[in-house]
């Protein structure tokens, strides 16, 4: 090979290498998510500097979800997957195993840095981890910071951008609490006594300093026995509970039974686990939840 041809070949190789490097540098992360709140968290952290891929369809119910073949295709396209990891998206691990991706895909466990609490009102008195950390403000902020840090480790060039976005988003979430406060000025909180259909609202109620008197169905999908239900109704009556929080998207005949037996007023809280994936969904539905809570507090305060 002549020196000229050798030089030309080296230049071509260098140009190709540079082109490849530029392509790699410009490659945006494909961030998978399992639950609606994580879509909002990631969207607000990454802005337009990463692509978000929901693992399951928007209208699928994440409670007891049965994995579908399309999920396996989606999961192979991801660079990283953000998971709840403590019991609310166990189907994601079935999909990981089925697609042979368990050891290949980077996982961000959003709850790594969250101080967990037990499910309230378990009739056995057991201390079982409550996985609903995303129906909250403080625990949500903790997850936002952690996700931003982990994404920054995977994409160091955008780490500062992610962190600044996380900070702004955290303040946006925190301001929801200020809005809630403004709504209950002058309300008589001493009269507020609540029960909940299930344990999904423990984190937000604890953050607001509101105690739960009874939980009808402490574990998702495990309905109380007739005896447990009767005991719960007795407890609600004895404690003079006047508010029952039920799930907005997933109706339960039990809530009607409780309402008829006790006379409590029922309010619906969103689990933030249904409908279209949007960046604003978490803040919008938490704002709606906090407004519902404020209404319940005010109306309980006015009750005789």
């Amino acid at each position: 090979m002549s020196p000229l041809r050798r030089t030309l070949l080296r230049v071509m190789v260098l140009l190709l290498a540079a082109s490849g490097a530029q392509t790699a540098a410009a490659k945006t992360l494909k961030v998978g998510i399992t639950l609606h709140p994580y879509y909002s968290f990631v969207a607000n952290i990454v802005g337009d500097r990463a692509e978000i891929v929901p693992l399951i369809d928007a209208d699928a119910n994440p409670h007891g979800y049965a994995p579908q073949p399309a999920d396996m295709i989606r999961i192979t396209s991801m660079d990283v997957l953000v998971v709840n990891g403590i019991g609310h998206d166990s189907w994601a691990f079935e999909i990981l195993d089925a697609a042979a991706m368990r050891d290949k895909l980077t996982l961000i466990y959003a709850n790594d840095g969250v101080s967990l609490i037990p499910v309230a009102g378990d009739p056995s008195g057991a201390k079982v981890v409550n996985p609903h950390t995303f129906i909250s403000t403080t625990a949500a902020i903790q997850q936002v910071y952690l996700i931003a840090r982990r994404l920054g480790e995977l994409d160091p060039e955008n780490a500062t951008y992610f962190r600044d976005n996380a900070r702004r988003y955290a303040l946006q979430i925190r301001k929801l609490r200020a809005e809630f406060d403004a709504q209950i000025v002058g309300a008589n909180l001493a009269k507020f006594r609540c029960a909940t259909m299930h344990s999904g609202y423990d984190y937000i109620l604890q953050e607001l300093g509101l105690q739960v008197t009874a939980v009808i169905e402490p574990r998702h999908g495990v309905e109380p026995t007739a005896r447990q239900l009767a005991e719960t109704i007795d407890r609600i009556k004895a404690a003079d509970v006047n508010v029952l929080f039920a799930e907005k998207y997933f109706a339960s005949k039990l809530s009607d039974t409780i309402r008829e037996a006790t006379g409590v007023k029922m309010y619906s809280i969103s689990h933030i686990s249904s409908g279209e994936y949007t960046p604003g969904k978490f803040v919008e539905e938490m704002r709606e939840n906090l407004t519902t809570l404020a209404t319940a507090i005010k109306e309980a305060g006015q009750s005789g």
Partner: protein, 242 residues
């Protein structure tokens, strides 16, 4: 000519003994498998072994104290962010400072921010001790919350131990709880002296521990339990720790 002799074959009646043993073994195997599965999947969260000077936030604290601790646990992550915010535009030579109570108010940061949840959780009275000079208070910044109004409420102490002042070998943020409703600001942030005054370090049952329980140890870079090293966070902001 051959003639076939009649043959008689004696067939023993099929006994049920063998099948019964096989069936019993199969039932036992299924029961053992199910019991093991239930124990692995459905067991209660056993408390992690703690020292007697520690207390679990998960099953040791209740009510308002658990809510306050969980807020403080998030504050541990937010303090470096606020530290960045308040020191970002410092002129050269200006001493970097850690957030004070007014900063926490400005950031609407629970459990310090005086909103409804602060009242509902007992209206703890917070005060701050900053080390005025290197070596004073062994280099620790301490936030004390005491005199809560909820029944049976204890007191909290959040300590940032500073490596440059010789307090610790890392910049650790540790949360302590004292069962006494009223306590004075400790004279020292050192562990042994705090323990003598009745303080107990609060240990979270954090998500990484639950993930390990469920899946083994998939998260190699999970944060440590208890003391939170903020070196990494601060280095990301300012390079070498101030």
């Amino acid at each position: 000519m051959t003639s076939a002799l009649p043959m008689t074959e004696v067939i023993k009646p099929s006994g049920a003994r063998f099948e019964a043993w096989v069936l019993a073994a199969a039932v036992v195997a299924v029961l053992v498998a199910l019991t093991t599965y239930v124990r692995l999947q459905g067991r209660e969260n056993e408390p992690a072994p703690l020292y007697d000077w520690q207390i679990s936030a998960f099953d040791g604290l209740t009510g308002a104290d658990q809510a306050i601790y969980n807020s403080l646990y998030t504050v541990k992550d937010e303090i470096p962010v606020i530290y960045d915010d308040i020191n970002r535009f410092n002129e050269p030579g200006v001493k970097f400072r850690w957030p004070n109570l007014q900063d926490f108010e400005d950031w609407l940061l629970p459990p310090f921010h005086r909103d409804t949840s602060w009242e509902q959780n007992g209206s703890l009275q917070w005060s701050l001790h900053e080390p005025l000079a290197e070596g004073e208070m062994q280099g620790s910044t301490m936030y004390l919350g005491t005199d809560g109004r909820s029944e049976g409420q204890g007191s909290f102490l959040l300590i940032i131990g500073h490596v440059h002042a010789g307090f610790t070998n890392n910049n650790a943020i540790v949360i302590w709880w004292n069962e006494k409703n009223h306590v004075a600001m400790p004279e020292s942030g050192f562990r042994d002296q705090l323990i003598l005054q009745g303080w107990r370090e609060v240990v979270a049952y954090s998500g990484d521990l639950e993930v390990k329980r469920l899946f083994g140890d998939p998260a190699e870079d999970a944060p440590e339990q208890g003391a939170e090293n903020v070196d990494g966070l601060l280095e990301g902001i300012f390079g070498e720790q101030q």
